[in-house]
């Protein structure tokens, strides 16, 4: 799923500085699962904003809503009747949300309340880690299920660099060297020879370097 972090309160307050009323919109998709933009977080942020602005002596009216998803136009419809009744709309979805909202309701101002971080999953309660860089040409099977594009600091595809030591990456002792893991796993499974294969330089066209990407499923297109 998409992992996001909530923006610092000061930044959100600065965004809505000149607003007297806002609509705070959560999303029941990824940001609910990673506890950053679901119903609970919408309620907390709404209350926090009201208190902060009350302290400033400039009360802020905060209405709240949680949409099924913000990355699907049909689920944006519930806002149609009152999106323009507020000075601004603040989205707690990933970066897709405020953009889809802006496209659906061009006359309104939409602000992001979260920073979209990466595609990953929970490794323990409250901790999420990146697993996919969305390069558009998956090669995970070549590395025994461990993606060096997403998980190696240098996205190396032909083995570890000289900065790998004791299973850690030179960038930080907090970061595991994914190449250390790949090599160990290959050895354990008797597949080390896989890593002696030279692969031509990666084709990055399927990544962001081909411009904004699009996926078309012909059978679903009406």
């Amino acid at each position: 799923m998409i992992i996001a972090d909530r923006k610092p309160l000061e930044e959100i307050l600065e965004m809505v500085h000149d607003c007297g009323s806002i609509l705070l919109v959560g999303c029941k998709g990824c940001v609910t699962v990673c506890n950053v933009g679901g119903l609970k977080e919408v309620e907390i942020l709404a209350a926090t904003l009201r208190i902060a602005r009350k302290k400033e002596g400039r009360p802020l009216e905060v209405a709240q809503r949680v949409l099924e998803r913000q990355c699907d136009p049909e689920y944006l419809e519930p806002l149609r009747n009152d999106y323009d009744q507020f000075d601004a709309v603040v989205s707690m979805a990933c970066g897709v949300g405020p953009q889809f909202l802006s496209e659906a309701y061009p006359s309104q101002r939409f602000y992001p309340a979260v920073n979209t971080r990466f595609m990953g999953g929970a490794v323990q309660h409250g901790v999420w880690e990146e697993r996919c860089a969305g390069c558009g040409a998956c090669k995970i099977h070549l590395f025994d299920g461990l993606c060096p594009i997403a998980r190696c600091s240098k996205s190396l595809l032909h083995g570890p660099c000289g900065g790998s030591a004791g299973g850690k990456c030179e960038v930080s002792a907090e970061i595991e060297c994914i190449w250390d893991k790949i090599v160990r796993k290959k050895m354990e499974n008797g597949r080390l020879a896989d890593l002696r294969v030279f692969r031509p330089a990666k084709d990055w066209r399927t990544s962001r370097d081909g411009g904004p990407r699009r996926s078309i499923r012909e059978e679903l297109v009406k």
């Binding site: 084709d203 990055w204 370097d209 081909g210």
Partner: protein, 290 residues
């Protein structure tokens, strides 16, 4: 005379685009440059223009400078991050390059290495700012430099736009000038009248506007530009002239010469000639140029 000084005193500058080789044989590049040196203020060295891999602009500029030939080194945002860009700018200045032309760089899909990853760490505006930061004796991390490069830094401007697109381009040009862009090379101009909407709203002398004159190598090329490049105006009369001319090469050079003369008479500070592979015809072009 340095390009900067030419702009300051108003002596018409003649720039010629000189594309580095795709390979290590630099004899052709040096031969062309040597033949034209007397007539050219500086050679503009593209930085892998059209996203085609070639000998680098830095390398080519240093090779030319080392032989006493002045250059304007192009620097594009596409292929290097801010460390590499700054490092190359320092190297260029230390090697004698004093003029730059910063460009965004065409998308990789237009070139010959479609599978490459673009960098674009700095955008054009940020790169212009970076050149100014270096000139002030600091790098982008704020660390002091041992000797600061003080470049004349130009960039590009699209003069063929209309309406809202032209408004945006003019606005951007003025922002870039404020950020430190010292001259602006235009998109190819075949007809000064067609860029009237632009020149009416831009101080061509204060901004050091340098129109590009592209050599029309064939009738087919002229027709292609007319049909497919909406922002470049190529009058039907020019196509007709080429069509009727018994010697198309000579006619094309005559057209370029007339355009250069018109540009000079209109008060522009200089011109960039883009030979498009016709470097060997440039002596003939210059021979009859007043």
């Amino acid at each position: 005379m340095e390009l900067r000084n030419r702009f300051d005193v108003g002596v018409f500058a003649i720039l010629v685009e000189l594309v580095p080789p795709k390979g290590v044989d630099i004899s052709g590049m040096l031969r062309v440059a040597g033949r034209l040196a007397d007539r050219v203020t500086a050679f503009v060295v593209p930085d892998m223009g059209a996203a085609v891999m070639r000998l680098s602009a830095l390398g080519a500029a240093m090779l030319l400078q080392g032989r006493g030939l002045r250059t304007v080194m192009q620097v594009c945002c596409r292929d290097r991050n801010r460390l590499a860009l700054q490092g190359d700018l320092l190297a260029a200045y230390a090697g004698g390059v004093t003029s730059l032309m910063v460009v965004a760089g065409e998308d990789l899909r237009f070139g010959d290495h479609h599978q490459a990853a673009a960098v674009n760490d700095l955008d054009l505006m940020e790169l212009i700012e970076a050149v100014g930061v270096l000139a002030a004796g600091k790098d982008l991390s704020g660390a002091p430099l041992e000797g600061a490069p003080r470049f004349l830094c130009g960039t590009t401007v699209n003069v063929g736009l209309r309406d809202a697109a032209l408004d945006a381009e003019l606005d951007q040009m003025h922002c870039r000038a404020e950020a430190g862009a010292g001259f602006f090379v235009t998109t190819p101009v075949f007809d000064l009248e067609s860029i009237g909407p632009f020149t009416a709203r831009a101080d061509i002398r204060r901004l050091n506007l340098v129109p590009t004159v592209m050599l029309l190598k064939s009738l087919g090329m002229a027709r292609y530009i007319q049909r497919n490049m909406g922002h470049i105006h190529l009058p039907a009369a020019l196509i007709e002239r080429l069509q009727k001319a018994p010697d198309k090469t000579r006619e094309s050079l005559r057209i370029a010469r007339e355009t250069i003369t018109a540009i000079r008479e209109a008060g522009f500070k200089g011109v960039l000639i883009s030979p498009m592979g016709w470097e060997d015809h440039l002596p003939e072009l210059f021979e009859h140029l007043e």
